[in-house]
């Protein structure tokens, strides 16, 4: 009797777990389907030219997504490059060099940083970061690296560069936390072995820690990418919100999440709304694409790592 009821409870529990897991797939499926359906009007009207159209003019009903794709991808790329360098460095310092009295407080600060709401980062960006970029960083970059088109042109403060830096600051905690945990998991035998062979601490990191942590690092960058691509509020506040594609990082740009947040509430014509839905669909596809690429990368890195280590 006891056994029967136990089995029943067990089976119910398993089925419930299955139900919840499956509901995630159902959710994503219906979301994609509804986005596709809502954007069908824009798709019928513009077709592929929606993706490479550079003009977004609500008054004349011409909608192209390219400037938003560009803004989202470039700002995320800037943010991720900076965040990866800083995040991995901090993680290495925390796990390989620092004593407990440094690692503890630093870890605490990093965890605190990831808990700050994005609108707070945005406000800080508009009041502190943007003025500093306008009067400090951008003129300095222009003076030293002005021969590269990226660092030329008029300086406004709100720009692609500002958005990239805000995204870097927001993704550093994610990357640092994951890489720190991965580096901690490196077996002591490996590190001690490298040191016993006469490696310096720096060589030990290159020989034992980084190869072991490689897939974890790529995974952490993936997590950071997810946050950067979809970040809305902070980016909207500092990117300048102008749909254009120019080489200079000092110029204002626009992102996909920002244009939805900005224009969705007041978009009244059906084609306009439909175009905004299609931007949402594009964002979903771009995110999926990057995740898939990162997934493949992790898989290849893992396979190679297994080949070299074991």
């Amino acid at each position: 009797m006891r056994k029967v009821s136990q089995r029943l409870a067990d089976r119910t529990f398993t089925w419930m777990l299955r139900l919840f897991t499956f509901s995630l797939f159902a959710l994503l499926g219906t979301l994609t389907f509804q986005l596709a359906e809502a954007s069908s009007q824009a798709w019928n009207r513009f077709g592929l030219s929606f993706l490479n159209g550079k003009v977004w003019d609500p008054v004349r009903g011409v909608f192209g997504a390219l400037p938003f794709l560009y803004g989202t991808i470039v700002s995320s790329a800037i943010g991720l490059v900076i965040a990866t360098v800083v995040g991995v460095s901090v993680a290495l310092l925390l796990t390989q060099y620092a004593g407990r009295w440094v690692a503890g407080p630093v870890s605490f600060v990093i965890e605190l940083m990831s808990a700050i709401p994005s609108v707070v980062y945005g406000l800080w960006g508009i009041f502190v970061l943007a003025p500093w970029i306008r009067s400090g960083l951008a003129p300095a970059l222009n003076a030293s690296l002005g021969f590269i088109p990226l660092f030329r042109g008029q300086i406004y403060g709100t720009s692609l560069l500002t958005a990239g830096l805000i995204l870097a600051i927001m993704t550093i905690p994610t990357i640092t936390a994951v890489v720190r945990d991965v580096c901690r998991a490196v077996p002591d035998e490996l590190r001690e072995g490298a040191l016993a062979l006469g490696a310096t601490r720096q060589e030990m990191i290159g020989l034992a820690v980084l190869p072991f942590a490689r897939s974890g690092i790529v995974g952490s960058v993936m997590l950071g990418l997810g946050r950067a691509l979809g970040e809305t509020m902070a980016v909207t506040m500092v990117i300048g919100n102008r749909p254009q594609i120019v080489a200079s990082l000092f110029q204002p740009a626009y992102s996909m999440a920002s244009v939805i947040a900005n224009e969705f509430t007041e978009a009244t014509s059906p084609l306009y709304l439909s175009s905004l839905y299609e931007i949402g669909l594009c964002l979903l596809l771009v995110t999926t694409l990057f995740y898939a690429m990162a997934r493949v990368l992790v898989w290849r890195v893992e396979r190679r790592a297994r080949g070299t280590l074991l």
Partner: protein
């Protein structure tokens, strides 16, 4: 262990079922309705939100009826009205014929009632300039088109003789979110500048050829205050409360006029005829009229069920009469006589 897993299963099940609305949630979880009257619900314009939230607070104190207002944007307000999820919408631009036709299919004729008058100030950031700068419509159009690129350009100097202007680049700051504020401003610039009308046009969100965008009045104000050489259009109430420097604008009578409650009223009074299809009051005639002004509207169905309709009429009548006296205390322009007349006439057409 076993009882724990069963208990957790039961809790999870309950949570899902309540979440789906299959099982009514316990009474203690539901907000207690106010005694007697059911709350009225509305949604729409974010521009109206400060005004309406204060007004509805006053209304509750006076009549003990709650009014829930969701500031989801004018477009959203119209959509929710058509879908029947709210009893009134608020919009910065009256509904056009296409929207009215759509609404007619679901709920019949729509009444559009002006509820507040707004003016927009031209704010700028030139710390060394202590004079109040003068602007004209064509000059503003040229600055926002990116054609006047520096503050010491001849076009600006010509209007401001004797003012020492720096050789700083002009940074035109606009609203990045769709808004009635942008509609009024682009409506004005299109009226006074054929080039602006051709290149940009009139709309709640437009394709700006230059400058940067900020989300909401607050962000535009912040961008202007933080970027030397910036110029932007901001709600008058917002400028008055943040003490930003703002300019005077040349009106049709050839006078430079500052935005105030009085000059906005003068502009509204210059239009004897006000209807939901002739709603624009930019570039008004009259010596003391400020040229960049506009109304905001509440929209609702003409046919209402008896009790509901009575309550709505009482609310809106109160809003366009009694409550307007308090508007100037918070830097909102009280509704001029012509608009109040239209509002009451529209409310008189309600069937309930």
């Amino acid at each position: 262990m076993r009882s724990l897993s069963i208990a957790s299963g039961v809790i999870l099940c309950c949570a899902t079922l309540t979440g789906c609305g299959l099982v009514p949630s316990p009474a203690f979880l539901q907000p207690t309705p106010p005694k007697g009257l059911r709350p009225l619900t509305g949604a729409g314009s974010t521009f109206d939100y400060p005004l309406l939230s204060r007004a509805f607070y006053d209304y509750y104190n006076e009549f003990h009826q709650e009014v829930n207002y969701q500031p989801i944007g004018s477009g959203g307000g119209i959509l929710q009205l058509v879908k029947g999820t709210v009893q009134f919408g608020a919009t910065d631009v009256p509904m056009n014929n296409r929207e009215l036709a759509l609404a007619a299919r679901t709920g019949g004729a729509v009444l559009q009632i002006p509820i507040t008058l707004g003016a927009e100030a031209i704010a700028y950031n030139l710390p060394m300039v202590h004079h109040r700068l003068r602007f004209s419509g064509p000059l503003l159009a040229a600055m926002f088109l990116g054609r006047v690129r520096f503050w010491d350009a001849p076009a600006i100097v010509a209007l401001n003789p004797g003012v020492k202007l720096p050789h700083w680049p002009v940074l035109a700051v606009h609203r990045s979110d769709g808004s009635g504020t942008t509609y009024i401003f682009t409506n004005y610039l299109s009226r006074v500048s054929p080039a602006f009308s051709r290149i940009v046009g009139t709309g709640k969100a437009v394709l700006w050829p230059s400058g940067v965008g900020g989300k909401g009045n607050a962000a535009v104000a912040e961008l202007v205050q933080n970027a030397p050489g910036a110029i932007g259009y901001v709600e008058l109430a917002y400028v008055l409360q943040t003490h930003m420097p703002y300019g005077v604008v040349l009106n049709r009578a050839g006078r430079y006029v500052a935005p105030t409650l009085r000059t906005a009223t003068a502009a509204a009074d210059a239009f004897a005829e006000l209807t939901p299809s002739h709603f624009s009051i930019v570039d008004a005639r009259g010596l003391s009229s400020y040229p960049i002004c506009g109304y905001s509207w509440v929209v609702l169905y003409r046919h209402q069920p008896a009790v509901r309709g009575h309550e709505l009429r009482r609310l809106l009548t109160w809003l366009v009469t009694t409550e307007q006296a308090r508007a100037s205390a918070v830097d909102n322009v009280p509704l001029p006589a012509v608009a109040r007349r239209l509002a009451l006439q529209q409310l008189g057409r309600m069937d309930d």
